[in-house]
Amino acid sequence: MDLFLQLTFAGLAIGSIYSCVALAVVMIYQATDHFNFAQGEMAMFSTYIAWTLVGLGAPVWLAFLLAVGLSFLAGVAIERVIVKPVENAPVLNQIIVFIGLLVIFNAVAGWIWEFTIKPFPSLFPADLGFKSTLIGPHHIGVIALTLGVLALVFAFFRFTRVGLAMRAAAANPDSARLVGVSVGWMLALGWGLAAAIGAVGGILVAPIVFLEPNMMAGVLLYGFAGALLGGVSSPGGAVLGGLVVGVLENWVGQYVPGGSELKLTFALILIVGVLVFKPAGLFGRVVVRRV
């Protein structure tokens, strides 16, 4: 029973990281109808920036905040400079631009920081004032912090004027322009937020998987799986989907023979399974398109 609970709590911790990535994916998807395949590599790059700042002597929390802020700015810039020219291009062209970004970030990270594995410090103290055999301090911190970040994001969208404008721009760009919303900048802002949320995910996962340029490939895949499971049209669903996927991953790894070695295959099966059997996800709405 203890093992089961340990697995579940650890799954929730890693799952909340998937939730961050899933949310980042869903944000860009809702605004533009595109999956940003470079989301994981962008988060990886952000994590390296935090690592560098720590190396320069910055306290780990300061490094975290700076890296997240820089990622936001970088996300905005990437949308304005690189993605905007293909805004109205066919889907394939856009996918290829995302892939190009993925490759560039991966290669440049390997070039600057090399492909060796680096330890990354946890944001949270090793001693939280109490001991539990069921869950470690980093995992508790991860769950608390991601839930906090997600609550902030939801409050932003729900209660602020810009958040409302972003939702409007995503849902109906023409009408949004007609009430004076600058849709292009809302898209850029969405990219910025997605990059920032992704950075949170990257910095939280780094102490668990170790920092290296390819660390996010699996996380992104699980993030996609979580987003699809929850429903790509539902940010709340995506968060829940990420948690479910994290827990499932741990259970499968422990209780299914070969499961620990085939974690990516599990993600693949999950993605294809959801797409085939429940394309709208658990909480998404079925989109009926007029033809």
Partner: protein
């Protein structure tokens, strides 16, 4: 110079030209209607003023040339467009739609007051403040679209077929409310309608559009008494 002056306006959808030199003017505080058959370019004219299509020619509003501006900049000058098909934000609530209408304004107190006045014009919206806009009936969505436009405190409203797809009684109700808005706010309106008799009764001036060109224009009274207009567009 008139409040809104349109000269030699051309518009294109990709390679296809839709307007071939449209000229007309609108005086401050007046209501002008644009009539025409399907595909004559009525909607395109409104979209061209709001810079939603590629255009050539001149549109001057309140002394300012609109060409080269983005749609959002045009909106910020005080032009509120109630688009074809209403363009409501269906997943947002009625209230959120109205808040979005005032997106370019900063005066919180004024916004709150205007929201109450919109609910005054359209009591039905007041009853449904928290309801998702997508669940409203067609007539209510049209009301919401007009209400959202009012939230801008517009100097000029562009109305694209407010009667479209609605039952006659609802159409009558909406036009009555629009008349009241005009009376109280003195807003200038540029109205596009297929229902010519309705439009001519409501507007001070009217222009007739055929295949992307203005073929006739003047006081509504004048058009109403024109033999051809009566036969082709009014049908009696």
């Amino acid at each position: 110079m008139a409040f809104l002056e349109v000269r030699a306006l051309e518009a294109y959808y990709r390679q296809t030209q839709a307007l071939f030199g449209v000229d007309f003017r609108l005086d401050e505080g007046s209501i002008t209607a644009i009539l025409g058959a399907n595909g004559a370019g009525k909607t395109t004219t409104l979209r061209a003023i709001c810079r939603m299509v590629r255009t050539d020619g001149e549109v001057v509003f309140d002394g300012q040339d609109l060409s080269g501006l983005s749609t959002e900049r045009v909106v910020r000058l005080g032009i509120a467009h109630v688009p074809e098909g209403r363009g409501t934000f269906v997943r947002q609530s009625v209230e959120e739609n109205l808040v979005l209408g005032a997106y370019t304004r900063k005066d919180k107190a004024g916004i709150a007051a205007d929201m109450e006045s919109v609910y005054g014009y359209f009591p039905r919206l007041g009853d449904r403040r928290r309801q998702q806009a997508g669940t409203l009936s067609g007539g209510e969505q049209q009301m919401l679209a007009i209400g959202r436009a009012l939230m801008l405190r517009p100097k000029l409203m562009l109305l694209d077929e407010p009667s479209f797809g609605l039952a006659p009684l609802i159409v009558q109700e909406i036009y009555e409310i629009m008349a009241r808005i005009r009376e109280r706010e003195g807003t200038s309106m540029l109205l596009v309608e297929q229902n010519a008799s309705l439009a001519l009764a409501f507007a001070d001036h009217a222009y007739l559009l055929e295949t992307g060109k203005v073929v006739m224009g003047g006081e509504s009274e004048l058009l109403r008494n024109d033999e051809n207009i009566r036969r082709i567009y009014l049908g009696y």
